[in-house]
């Protein structure tokens, strides 16, 4: 177990380091000079040079990289070119919105997937089960932003039941906050839930065929009770893995969905940053996303070991 975790942790650190190089390199080759974008069309060469000096983009790339990367471990992401504010607090500010969205999206996915997948597995031979599988197939095929557009059309424009977008912080108005998060997280959750339900279904199907379930049923337990007492933990292993992977997808999906619903989260920060060539802001945001995804994978590995004792002995 200890060695296993150590290896996983090492992988996490190395991947983060590699990612920082890649993120910086991509930004460096991105065409478009931040100084020129900030100053506008008719800027003189001297003004642009002065702005470059102010931004520090006139220094060698290696210096810029070391300067940037050395601040990362302590959470110093540098200063935004556009707002002249520190990047870190800006990201934290927006991260709140995105995290709520991802959390709600995930919850909705679980709420949709676990009953749906289990029902589809238990009735896999009946028409109902087939229908459920078909439904999830449809959900898989729909991208989250399209689901969002459809949901807005139905719930906001046609029925006028929920707001079509916007964001109110929780502490200002919890009711409005919840209403505004409902549709975006639903559009994320429905799609992810459809994907997840297929894994739940196959996991439950596998478990149902196991000897210990048959034994449990022979002892007189009902199917659902047997599944819950003896099968759930086994079925959870593949599902947790997929859940972890999906959390990463959700985070990225949130970036797109935020745009549809005008949520001021990481996604809109990122898009604005790219358009304004606010390189440090973009680098910082992407790094946070990368670390989040890598961190999730690490946690999945750890959870894996906890759920499956067989892994603890292995490397």
């Amino acid at each position: 177990m200890g060695l296993y975790l150590l290896v996983r942790a090492a992988v996490l650190v190395v991947s983060t380091a590699v990612a920082s190089v890649v993120v910086f390199a991509v930004m460096a080759v991105l065409p478009g000079d931040p100084a020129e974008v900030a100053l506008g069309v008719n800027a003189t060469a001297e003004a642009v040079a002065a702005k470059r000096a102010e931004f520090g983009t006139d220094r060698p790339l290696t210096t810029q990289f070391l300067d940037w990367v050395s601040g990362l471990p302590v959470g110093d992401f540098g200063v935004s070119y556009v707002t002249s504010d520190r990047v870190g607090p800006q990201i934290v500010d927006r991260l709140g919105v995105t995290l709520w969205l991802v959390l709600f999206g995930m919850l909705m996915a679980i709420v949709v997937a676990v009953p749906l997948g289990t029902a589809a597995a238990v009735r896999h031979r009946s028409v109902g089960g087939l229908l459920l599988s078909g439904l999830s197939q449809l959900g898989v095929a729909v991208p989250a932003f399209l689901a969002g557009i459809l949901l807005v059309f139905l719930f906001a424009v046609t029925w006028q039941a929920l707001p079509s977008g916007g964001y109110t912080p929780l502490r200002e108005d919890p009711g409005a906050w919840f209403q505004q998060l409902l549709l975006p997280s639903l559009s994320l959750g429905l799609v992810q839930g459809a994907v997840l339900s297929r894994y739940v279904r196959s996991a439950v199907l596998d478990v149902m065929r196991e000897d210990y379930i048959r034994t449990a049923r022979a002892k007189g337990l009902g199917l659902y009770r047997a599944l819950w007492k003896h099968g759930a933990r086994n079925a959870a292993i593949p599902v947790v893995t997929v859940l972890g992977l999906q959390l990463a997808t959700l985070l990225i999906g949130a970036v797109v969905v935020e745009r549809v619903f005008t949520l001021p989260g990481l996604g809109s920060l990122l898009l604005d940053g790219v358009a304004n060539r606010d390189l440090l802001l973009v680098q910082g945001t992407v790094m946070v996303l990368v670390v989040a995804v890598l961190g999730i994978n690490f946690l999945v590995d750890v959870l894996y070991a906890l759920l499956d004792p067989r892994l603890r002995g292995a490397r």
């Binding site: 991105l30 065409p31 478009g32 000079d33 020129e36 974008v37 900030a38 100053l39 506008g40 069309v41 008719n42 800027a43 003189t44 003004a47 002065a50 556009v82 707002t83 002249s84 504010d85 500010d93 927006r94 709600f104 919850l107 679980i110 709420v111 557009i149 807005v152 906001a156 424009v157 006028q160 707001p163 079509s164 977008g165 916007g166 964001y167 108005d173 919890p174 009711g175 409005a176 919840f178 209403q179 409902l182 819950w228 007492k229 759930a232 933990r233 959870a236 745009r259 549809v260 619903f261 005008t262 001021p264 989260g265 809109s268 920060l269 898009l271 358009a275 304004n276 906890l306 759920l307």
Partner: protein
């Protein structure tokens, strides 16, 4: 035992219950807009609030006239009218401007507005401003305070465009004690002051209680920013906002056809959508080729296809709200046969041209039509969309590495910048036109109008560019809203005259 899992399930179940409960209790909180509060939807959010160091139209659109005021402003007909200056005198040699200031004006930091602030603001453009627009003040030789309410500006040469530029952001008046944090804390004399700004979402203004002029109709205004055109439309459809400041996709206006609920306002802007030519590079350095392109394009059909017929046809780089406007749309009527003749004369019967456009909806839509119309006269067009602004600015604007482009030149009165400077990306060099621009700048009002008219006609005849259409000002508002500007004549969106339905 399955204890950890059971715990997880319990947590999820509890959370779900909590969410559902919250959902029930929140059902009552509905529309938050009150009679004196207004919410206006925009697309481009300011990067910061400091237009002295950051370019882009979003900052003056939100701040100018609303938070910051200049000595003068433009009215709906494009005329220069008093604002912080009650009146002004121009010396006979047209080089000295004496501004008589209002004496009842205070900044939102409580300081009184005086001639010292005029001196400070004008000098600060030269010393501290970073954006290229600051060159508008190069012509100022000296600015001094005569007394508390009189400021005298001396120019190095007569310049009509200088006074005009004073209506734009360059002319904004700042408090000597109010420039410490321009990016976040604007201090002006305008009818509104900044309450809060939630980045990525909205800017909130409240009425300036000490405003010197007519108090604004709405006590609170929220400027809401939408990255997505559909989201912007949906916000009005669902009551999230009261006004769409500029409709992004003209075909979407059908959604608001219910006249008992919505009001659609269509007017002009100062945005000329130009099919720009690289005038100094073969084959477009040949006037006949440029003329052929102008004859080959059916502008009416283009406007109908690309922009749902919204907008106005213009024959040159002048919107109807400028005093020197003249209808020049009949200079190059649609005539494919003539276009082919001209191409043959120029020895270019088969031509390949690169159309490098910004990846913006109007440019992409127009480019498709241009391509098919030019194909009809034997010109093969290769469309290449470039990311706007960064890529387009770099490739087309800076390096002039293009044959044709399409861009909405939104800046008011930009004909002089676009066709008067041979280094501008169209690389149009015509000494006669430059001379006329100089004459217009130095002359009296009548001389200015005459010279500008002539220059605009030469630019059009020379086919220095093709003027596809004038971008429409398309506003949609809830029924009953008053004060909506029909024409967009300046770079600001005046919020103070807007009035909610039941005010």
């Amino acid at each position: 035992m399955t204890r950890p899992l059971a715990r997880l399930v319990t947590v999820i179940a509890t959370a779900t219950l909590a969410i559902t409960a919250a959902g029930c209790s929140s059902g009552t909180s509905g529309d938050s807009s009150t009679a004196s509060s207004l919410s206006v939807g925009f697309v481009a959010e300011p990067a910061n609030l400091d237009f002295t160091s950051t370019d882009g139209v979003a900052i003056p659109q939100a701040l100018l006239v609303n938070v910051y005021e200049g000595l003068v402003k433009l009215d709906q007909d494009g005329k220069i009218v008093p604002l912080l200056a009650e009146s002004w005198d121009i010396s006979p040699d047209r080089k000295t401007y004496t501004f008589h200031l209002r004496d009842n004006v205070t900044f939102t930091n409580g300081k009184k507005f005086t001639a010292d602030d005029v001196v400070f603001s004008i000098n600060r453009v030269k010393t501290d401003w970073k954006v290229s627009l600051k060159s508008a003040m190069d012509v100022v030789a000296n600015v001094e305070k005569k007394d508390e309410t009189t400021a005298v500006v001396t120019l190095t040469k007569p310049s009509n465009s200088w006074l005009y530029k004073m209506t734009t952001r360059v002319g904004a008046m700042f408090s000597r004690d109010g420039v410490a944090d321009l990016a976040n804390k604007p201090v002006g004399t305008g009818p509104y002051k900044l309450d809060s700004w939630r980045r990525g979402d909205a800017i909130t203004y409240s009425a300036n209680a000490n405003y010197w002029g007519t108090k604004p109709k709405a006590g609170k205004v929220v400027l809401k920013y939408f990255k997505d055109a559909t989201a912007l439309n949906n916000a009005l459809l669902t009551g999230g906002i009261d006004i769409i400041s500029a409709v992004q996709a003209p075909e979407s206006i059908q959604q608001f056809s219910d006249t008992s609920k919505y009001e659609v306002i269509e007017g002009t802007t100062t945005g000329e959508v130009v099919l720009s030519f690289n005038n100094s590079k073969a084959p477009l350095n040949d006037k006949r080729v440029r003329q052929a392109i102008r004859y080959a394009i059916d502008h009416k059909a283009l406007l109908d296809t690309a922009w749902a017929g919204r907008g106005q046809l213009i024959g040159s780089m002048v919107p109807p709200t400028d005093p020197w406007y003249e209808d020049l749309t009949n200079l190059y009527p649609h005539d494919p046969a003539k276009a082919r003749d001209l191409l043959a004369q120029a020895g270019q019967p088969k031509l390949n041209l690169r159309l490098r456009i910004p990846n913006l909806p109007y440019a992409v839509a127009s480019a498709q039509v241009v391509k098919s119309q030019l194909a009809a006269v034997g010109i093969t067009v290769e469309i290449e969309p470039l990311e706007f602004p960064a890529r387009w600015l770099d490739v087309v604007f800076k390096q002039a590495d293009y044959d044709m482009s399409i861009i909405n030149h939104v800046e008011p009165r930009d004909i002089t910048a676009v066709f008067g400077n041979p280094d501008y990306y169209l690389r149009y060099h015509n000494p006669k036109v430059q001379e006329l621009f100089a004459k217009a700048d130095a002359g009296t009002e009548d001389e200015q109008v005459a010279a500008m008219k002539e220059a605009a006609r030469i630019v059009a005849e020379d086919a220095a560019g093709d003027f596809l259409f004038l971008f429409p000002n398309l506003i949609v508002a809830k029924k009953g809203m008053t004060g909506l500007p029909k024409n967009l004549v300046s770079e600001s969106f005046d919020l103070s005259v807007l009035s909610p339905s039941e005010a």
